[in-house]
């Protein structure tokens, strides 16, 4: 049996219930578990787990700082930069730190060693506790365009011995990849509507490309049609759980209450979900052996 297990909760469409699943799953596991909120643009899991934050760390990305006394305006830095973040002119250099991806190229290529990398703050990493659940979240500064560097900082806190649950952002582009990669299993949360299905297909494509085993949770399962069942059957995708569309569930969610606290039967449902996922991972590992 693995000593460490990382389960990422993702989706294609926003608002399907990732945070609901991630937070309730972590809470029902209850010990030796850490939740990483990688939705650094709009982190919400703290609303449900209500952690006590014990440390805050500013996270930065490396951006170039030029010592113009050493610079000979050769233009090599501008040539290597594909992001137009450093623009050498005839006798001056302009940098656009917000465009910089922190690749280090300019600093490496400068023949005069005139470029140093300094940290530019993009967000904050917060660590705390909720009962026995360890909690880590990133919060991107307003106006920052790039979330992956902050997500990478959050991901450094994946547990080496225990269970990590990752609350990923919506979509399928680079912030999601950063959040989900290297996980042992991905739970894709969806809803049985045309938008839900359309976006689930994109998310399935993503997880398949990453080569990570996955299953689907259908939330608000009673609102739509059978499109989700047909699709999962055809694609041989396991539906792990279906949560019905109940007003009471929506109301509890709106108040920031965990489903497992508001509705006792959900404690069992989420324990079952975790069992199912563990079983799926074990099966996958055995299959690979």
């Amino acid at each position: 049996m693995k000593h460490n297990l990382t389960i990422a909760v993702a989706s294609g469409k926003g608002g399907t219930g990732k945070t609901t699943i991630a937070a309730n799953l972590a809470y029902s596991i209850g010990y030796n578990v850490r939740l990483l909120d990688c939705d650094v643009e709009e982190p919400n899991s703290h609303i449900f787990l209500k952690p006590e934050i014990v440390s805050r760390e500013k996270i930065g990305v490396p951006v170039p700082e030029i010592d113009e006394s050493k610079c000979n305006y050769c233009g090599e830095c501008g040539r290597i930069c594909v992001f137009s973040a450093i623009v050498p002119l005839k006798d001056s250099i302009i940098t656009f730190p917000e465009l910089c991806h922190g690749c280090g190229g300019c600093s490496l290529v400068c023949p005069e060693k005139a470029i140093k990398e300094i940290d530019r703050e993009t967000g904050v990493l917060e660590i705390g506790w909720s009962d026995k659940i360890e909690f880590v979240q990133g919060r991107l500064n307003i106006g920052e365009a790039m979330s992956p560097p902050l997500i990478r900082a959050v991901k450094k806190h994946v547990k080496k011995d225990g269970i990590t649950i990752i609350d990923a952002p919506p979509g399928t582009s680079c912030p999601v990849i950063e959040s989900v990669k290297d996980s042992d299993y991905v739970v894709l949360v969806t809803e049985p509507t045309p938008f839900g299905l359309n976006d689930l297909k994109l998310a399935v494509g993503m997880v398949r490309e990453l080569g990570i085993p996955f299953g689907v949770v259908v939330n608000r399962a009673t609102i739509g049609d059978r499109c989700m069942d047909s699709y999962c059957l055809k694609e041989n995708i396991k539906i792990l759980l279906k949560i019905p569309d109940k007003r009471k569930i929506a109301e509890a969610y709106s108040r920031g209450e965990l489903a497992v606290n508001a509705f006792p039967e959900y404690k069992y449902i989420f324990e079952e979900l975790f069992s199912l996922i563990s079983g799926e991972i074990l099966e996958e590992t055995e299959y690979k052996l």
């Binding site: 939705d39 919400n44 952002p169 919506p170 609102i223």
Partner: protein, 294 residues
Amino acid sequence: MKELVVISGKGGTGKTSIVASFAALAEKKVIADCDVDAADLHLILGSKIQKKNEFAGGKLAVINPDLCTGCGICTELCRFDAVSPVNGKTGIPGVSINRLMCEGCGVCANFCPVNAIELKEKVSGEWYISESRYGPMVHARLGIAEDNSGKLVSLVRLNAKNIAENRKYDLVIIDGSPGIGCPVIASVTGASLVLAVTEPTLSGLHDLKRVISLAEHFNIRLVVCINKYDINTDMSRQIEEYCLTKKLKVVGKIPYDTIVTKAQIAGASVVEYAGKPVTFSIKKMWREIFYIIG
């Protein structure tokens, strides 16, 4: 030329459903779906693609295995965990470059002592000009795991504006994406008006506050819609009070109605499908917005 951008912060609040209704109500406009990561609007507007274009957003490092000596410099220099030796640290030549992780910065290609790595342009998506039931529409599809969503969003916006100018239309309505990062910033900068669609939940309010800060940061006028407001009227009131303190107008309070999903399944916008309180509130909201945007 006015641009109305519909965003939310939190996902799933109803942006696309509302934009679809606006498309049915507004005249002489171009629709732009800037949720390039997970575009859904075309599902309701019955869009027929007239022109398809490739989007070359960035670059990708590609290794020539025959030239690789296994020196490991590329692996050491890559900041994005995209390069790894094929056989571990055994000194056997060969690296693999993970296309999902590669940011196309070119550092590995630049410093490879035997020029075994080439930095190539890559097609990272597509964008489309379509004709919908309600007029011209520009939309796009960003490839899986791709970045440069901001560039693709800007391209969609630019083309929507061009079409509007050609047809002498005054308005572009933009369906935005969730969050507050790159694609959202690219959708809102320079817009005439932002409509933030929220929901009466603690998560909705939390995320709305960040969206409001974003609009303040970029100095763009913002109005608010509380969707599904009757799920929690206390939270709705909290949101209204918050908006009051920020001097922001709440232009609409839309009741929760299962007909919204039924309309989506039928491939119709809510205002086409239903003649109920929900339709009435959306129409009222549109009149308000139309008046504000001028």
